[in-house]
Symmetry: C2
């Protein structure tokens, strides 16, 4: 097994010191005579010696790597989160494994187990695994959750209530008194949280609020919910996320309904808002911040070794764009005729966060 690279032994031999000394010259130079440190380093440089991280990892049990797990990289919620997490980890000297659980708890479980022996810790965004398994893995390796609230496991959460509150305040001010929450999958923790927050806030404002399921968090599901939305006779809707919102916008536009003149739509997450027409009013979840915060929290735990039961809340804010406006007729106008545009293919643009 000839691995040509220069090892600590080569440097030690050439410098006339022991391998331990060479090691120390890099890891604990203050334990050595400055002159020795300098000489060793010079020789190491000459030889082009680079410490082998793998060997170091085997010896220390520290890898300088973390794993970031998400349910679906292609879900627009995650790329900004991944990007920020990666950048933060890189800046702090860590390399990042990326894992995609494809929305399935089993694959998440497998990835956790597979990567555990080569990482210092995990950031798991929107975990799909059940609480017991998460607790188990979190007990093995430092683990930070994003978008899931399990007491005792460090986590980064999004201030859903605050965001929803702002959205409802906004709609109330525009005169809306009967609105809908178009939800995502009933089993989703995020959806439950968002729906509850919406209901609670509406009640506080004396607004009538109907929950309309979209079942799946996709563009198509949003389109499919349009009929139910119109039947509900509301003047505004808050969607589970931007994807569902965009599905609603498309479905409504196809029926000749003009947004926001006839109906106001609020999204959630602010992941594609600005690329839609009309630009979507939405609740900015600062998902990039969540990613960065998750990594920071994890590395702090790793490096201090403390078992902090941290729970960091990422603030949200309402971004007012052009999909919301004042009530005109007071109710949505019924749909005209369905448009011709129906040849849409199935797509991977999912929306569950």
């Amino acid at each position: 097994m000839t691995r040509g690279s220069i090892t600590i032994g080569d440097v030690a031999a050439k410098a006339g010191v022991s391998r331990a000394t060479v090691s120390r010259a890099f890891t604990r130079p203050n334990l050595l005579t400055p002159a020795v440190v300098e000489q060793v380093r010079r020789i190491a440089d000459e030889l082009g010696y680079v410490p082998n991280r793998i060997a170091r990892a085997l010896s220390t049990g520290r890898f300088g790597t973390i794993a970031l797990l998400v349910p679906d990289i292609a879900n627009p919620f995650f790329p900004p989160l991944i990007r920020a997490a990666q950048a933060r980890a890189d800046a702090l000297g860590y390399a990042v494994f990326l894992g995609d659980s494809d929305e399935t708890p089993d694959r998440e479980d497998r990835l956790l187990a597979k990567l555990a022996p080569q990482v210092d810790g995990f950031v798991v965004a929107s975990p799909r695994l059940d609480e017991a398994r998460i607790r188990f893995h979190a007990g093995q390796k430092p683990t930070v959750l994003i978008n899931r609230d399990i007491a005792g496991v460090p986590r980064v959460l999004i201030d859903v209530r605050g965001g929803i509150e702002m959205a409802i305040t906004h709609l109330f001010a525009l005169g809306h008194r009967r609105i809908a929450y178009v939800g995502g999958p009933a089993a989703s923790w995020a959806n439950q949280q968002r729906e509850q927050a919406a209901m609670a806030a509406a009640q506080r404002f004396g607004i009538e609020e109907l929950a309309i399921p979209a079942y799946r968090p996709t563009y198509e599901a949003g389109q499919a919910a349009v009929e139910r939305l119109l039947a509900a006779g509301v003047s505004a809707a808050i969607a589970f996320d931007d994807i569902v919102a965009q599905g609603l916008v498309a479905g409504l536009s196809a029926r000749g309904i003009v947004i926001p003149r006839d109906l106001s739509i609020v999204g959630f997450d602010d992941v594609l808002a600005v690329t839609t027409y009309p630009p979507l009013t939405t609740i900015d979840a600062h998902c990039a911040d969540a990613g960065a915060a998750g990594v920071e929290l994890l590395l702090e735990i790793i490096e201090t070794g403390e078992k902090r039961d941290a729970c960091q809340i990422i603030p949200t804010r309402l971004v007012q764009r052009e999909s919301t406006g004042p009530v005109t007729t007071g109710e949505a106008i019924p749909g005209r005729s369905p448009s011709a545009g129906n040849r849409r293919r199935s797509t991977d643009q999912r929306g569950r966060t």
Copy 2:
């Protein structure tokens, strides 16, 4: 140094065999009696044993990891690519480091150097580094390029010409005789390639084609290009990518121009087409396929050890949706009055691939 995890020794003890046998049960089961293999595996499962890849790497010099480098995770072109690459690598037993060069050659260089000692190879999508440096790194570790054509370096390219050809055929059939190519950054290899292909194809059809720069590959740049597009008096435009296309759609819609009645728009990549309104006609670049192909090619090179100068072409196809239609007036109508909607914030939705 207590690393609690289960080791090969634990399994060996419980199974009453040597550690070598356990090792072989996982790496070379065909050397063992099937019964032994099965028993060892069962016990390993019971104990929750997972081979320590670091230890394995130290022993074999192979890591079971690859790195995937992209210029910007949040650019919608990449998530499907990353997802497919990750899935393919995972299925073949590899873990994936993800690196984001943030569009800067230097960071790409740094990531390559930093990750090199812990991976078996690289997939670099849309490299920003100059040819010499890429050649250097490719000489050190197996490297596959996506979206960059450097002779001698294995690469996966997209059939831009074919896609453009289909788009122009489509526009020609609809009666368009004067069209525009709204380009991305002039320095981008992808943009040059796309522009050239568009010009060549138009010429073949006897179509008049104007190149309109968008300078940056963003939604905003697309919007900003609208004025120039209208001034050009064309009836259709092919955009550098879907993001720019979507910017055009938004800018045109804001001026009261109806798509495709007044103007036809074709995107490129098919990364957000279905979530827009109207649904975008676009050239599907099959970026997921490119990601999977990149990984497969890399792993083949790693595992066979062959230095193949492979150049794999990913086919494209035109996806006809609703942003293209027959010429009506023959020319675009001039803009009416600019809409009110102008409070758009700067965003990270970039589009350069």
